[in-house]
């Protein structure tokens, strides 16, 4: 057995995970040819490094886990990227963290450290010019450096250099794991991150979460998705100077996040989710008000999105801008919304379904995107509508669980962790899959905490999307993905 087959949200024993030589693991990965979900090293003592690999078979809803041990003097291996390009960013990260070099890697550049040594791609010629943007940008956004190689107005290549937000989150998780830390990793995916962290902790501590708490978490996750998507629809409208869209979507997003404020005391749902359940219950009065608000949200989003999609000046900006082909999206391993908009039906809500997908009777229609900004606009619109319908169903379902507890008390965090365990939890945030993996040692203490944000896979999409587009369309492409800097930099 070279792979351990498992499901999402499971606890494995470290000793059950196969341990191979790197050469064999590489062959296995190439022959299995599945989508990488995690590929990370852990210090294994005596200068050794253990590499864990998690691959996903999304159609079957299964995960494949394996590992390889690098001896102290093993400092290189033949890279996988040349065979399966989607490993490129994972191998770069592994190299950066442990100095074990993937030989013949075509794009071995820093991920989040050593920016001063970043080897930029260079172009030369009479007409060629470089435009550097950032790390400090106009407007209130996160830091990141973009360097465009242009011929006149046309972009040949874009280099994205990140790492300015590196805070050592994964290391902090080992010493002070808490819901507060988890929800601070990426401010626009508070619910997704906190849900993933809580699920990891609950698996480690062997705690079960009540149905009611699960539903409230799911509700919050869909509210987060709806709110951010509506905000981004507005931002796309703002970027093309379509004032009405920017105003209407801006107002509508506020309705959603203000409802979250009413539920949890925070517009982004901070403090709502805790290990073992949720912190706030919803009474009938709040639910009634929310149902009314969401009805209005649904109406406004529907009307505004349809108006925009009918406006010829808007369509001329959105269509065929920043196109990513389906083949490219699969090849480079894009995930989440960016992949779905390019015609790759990846959604961990449905690929790794929990019991609620069936109980709430949630169906998922394929989107068939063509990968341009227009597709991403329409996908966001579709997902807002889908989220709002899920929210309606959850409100309905919540009535059945009136008297259930919402959490298991606040001592949960003090419970002992399972020993020598490997726990994985994947949550579909609005951007895509948020993956949290935790390892414990023989005493039950956390020995490794790995986080993978969808942006980690997807930043390269942006670089590909703007090729051969006008440089003035870059902000629009960027906004249509709205990738996370802090989620990548950790």
């Amino acid at each position: 057995m070279n792979w351990l087959k498992t499901k999402n949200n499971t606890k494995l024993n470290l000793s059950d995970i196969p341990e191979l030589r790197m050469g064999d693991l590489r062959k296995e990965i190439i022959s299995l040819n599945k989508r990488p979900v995690a590929f990370f090293g852990k210090d294994w003592g005596l200068g050794r490094v253990k590499l864990f690999v998690v691959l996903a078979d999304d159609k079957a809803g299964e995960l494949y886990v394996s590992s390889a041990l690098f001896a102290a003097d093993e400092k290189a291996y033949e890279c996988i990227t040349n065979e399966i390009p989607s490993f490129h960013i994972f191998e770069r990260e592994f190299y950066e963290d442990f100095g074990i070099e993937p030989l013949n890697h075509p794009w071995l550049k820093p991920v989040r450290r050593n920016q001063d040594k970043y080897p930029f791609f260079e172009m030369q010629g009479e007409e060629v010019h470089q435009v550097g943007v950032g790390p400090i940008h106009a407007g209130v956004i996160e830091p990141g450096h973009f360097r465009f190689m242009c011929n006149g107005e046309t972009v040949y290549h874009l280099e994205i250099m990140l790492g300015y937000q590196h805070r050592g989150v994964e290391e902090l998780m080992l010493t002070q794991p808490s819901n507060q830390l988890a929800e601070s990793v990426c401010g626009d995916s508070v619910i997704a991150y906190n849900t993933a962290f809580s699920q990891v902790m609950e698996l480690l501590k062997g705690v079960n979460v009540s149905d009611k708490a699960q539903l409230i978490r799911k509700l919050a996750l869909e509210m987060e998705r709806a709110a951010i998507h509506i905000g981004d629809l507005g931002a796309i409208a703002g970027d093309i100077a379509y004032l009405m869209g920017a105003s209407v979507f801006g107002v509508t997003r506020t309705l959603v996040i203000n409802t979250m404020l009413e539920f949890s005391g925070s517009r982004f749902g901070r403090g709502l989710i805790t290990t073992g359940g949720v912190n706030f219950d919803l009474d009938d009065e709040k639910i009634e008000r929310a149902i009314k608000t969401f009805a209005k949200v649904e109406k406004d989003v529907d009307r505004m999105a349809k108006t925009m999609l009918k406006n010829s000046t808007v369509m001329s900006r959105l269509e065929k801008t920043g196109t990513i082909s389906t083949e490219r999206a699969i090849e480079a391993g894009f995930v989440g919304m960016a992949a779905r908009a390019a015609g790759v039906e990846l959604d961990s809500r449905f690929d790794f379904p929990d019991k609620w997908i069936k109980e709430l009777d949630i169906e998922n229609k394929p989107f068939n995107g063509v990968g341009d900004v227009n597709s991403r606009f329409k996908l966001r619109y579709k997902e807002v509508m889908q989220s709002l319908s899920i929210i309606r169903k959850i409100f309905e379902k919540l009535k059945e669980f009136k008297n259930e507890p919402i959490n298991c008390g606040y001592e949960v965090m003090n419970k002992e962790n399972a020993k020598d365990a490997f726990v994985i939890s994947i949550v579909e945030g609005w951007r895509g899959e948020v993956v949290h993996i935790a390892l414990t040692d023989g005493s039950g203490a956390l020995s490794k905490y790995k986080i993978k944000d969808p942006s980690f896979n997807n930043w390269f999409v942006l670089a590909l999307a703007v090729r051969n587009n006008g440089i003035s369309d870059f902000p629009l492409c960027n906004k249509s993905f709205n990738l996370s800097y802090c989620g990548n930099d950790l």
């Binding site: 943007v133 100077a241 004032l243 209407v248 900006r317």
Partner: protein
């Protein structure tokens, strides 16, 4: 004399109000209350009081460009009849001076943008130069054609076109006004050509060229840009206001037309998205084609049967 003083006041104050009204209109369509229409004036005063920040990479060109920008617009304004129907300087072929004085101002704003050494500002300058080279001939064709009809080649003759040329006059008026209106959007850096409200430095045209300017330099440049819009709007007003209107009526009509133009610009900005940079040329060619229609109508009227 009174009219001349009035013209001067209009020239100095109305540009701020135009911008204020455009913004107010946009706020209205966006469902917001919006800032006071006097806000651009308050901003001007605020900027005049501020201290300069000047990049070390710039030379003397960067320092003198804002002054040249405002003084060229002020000089060009002397050739344009505003509310009174008669310009301060009324010489034959004033049009040439008018256009090239404005061109001089633009030239300095371009090289001042290049002077900062910023890649954004270089891109902005290149876009501005590119679009200007297409707008300028169209502007000449429209105004010179109309002037040719009256035979005396002064701006004062603009107001005679509607009354003197019969049904041709009406057609010429319509196309000339359309061409000049498109020119306001282009020269005034409004949507759909440029977006004055954006913060995205990669998509800007005019705004990006003045990224490095601050304090009174910025105030003068913004004032000059607004004044340029007023000048082109004044040409439209002069074409539309009948030659024989009394002074009071022509002032009222003038202000009404400026107000209408501002509201229309605000509405256009609210109702449509900005066009893609590579399509801006097509848009400018619409203005050129209107200009050619004016020319052909004038030729038909003068030499036709």
């Amino acid at each position: 004399m009174l009219m001349k003083i009035l013209n001067l006041i209009i020239l100095l104050v109305v540009p701020f109000l135009m911008i204020g009204i455009i913004r107010k209109t946009k706020a209205f369509w966006g469902g917001r209350k919006g800032a006071s229409v006097f806000q651009p004036l308050y901003d001007f005063v605020k900027l005049m009081k501020k201290d300069f920040v000047i990049s070390k990479t710039t030379s003397v060109v960067f320092r003198i460009a804002p002054v040249i920008a405002i003084s060229t617009v002020l000089f060009a304004a002397l050739f344009v009849p505003m509310a009174s129907g008669s310009a301060l300087i009324n010489i034959p072929a004033g049009l040439i001076v008018f256009a090239y004085i404005l061109g001089l101002g633009k030239f300095f704003s371009l090289i001042s943008a290049m002077d900062t050494g910023s890649s954004f500002e270089g891109m902005g300058a290149s876009r501005e130069a590119c679009f200007t080279s297409i707008v300028e001939p169209a502007f000449f064709i429209v105004i010179a054609s109309i002037m040719a009809m009256s035979g005396n080649y002064t701006f004062d003759s603009l107001s005679q076109i509607l009354s003197s040329a019969g049904s041709y006059g009406v057609l010429i008026t319509i196309f000339a006004v359309l061409a000049l209106f498109l020119m306001i959007l282009i020269e005034g850096c409004r949507v759909p050509v440029d977006d004055p409200a954006t913060h995205l430095e990669l998509t800007m045209i005019h705004e990006v060229m003045i990224l490095d300017n601050s304090a009174s330099d910025l105030a003068l440049i913004s004032w000059g840009a607004a004044m340029k819009m007023l000048l082109i709007s004044s040409l439209i007003a002069n074409i539309l206001i009948p030659d024989d209107a009394s002074a009071l009526i022509s002032v009222a009509l003038y202000l009404l037309i400026i107000l209408a133009i501002s509201v229309i610009i605000g509405t256009v900005e609210s109702a449509m998205a900005r066009i893609r940079m590579s399509h801006v040329f097509k848009y400018i060619f619409i203005m050129s084609s209107f200009a050619l229609v004016v020319l052909s109508l004038v030729v038909a009227r003068m030499f036709g049967g």
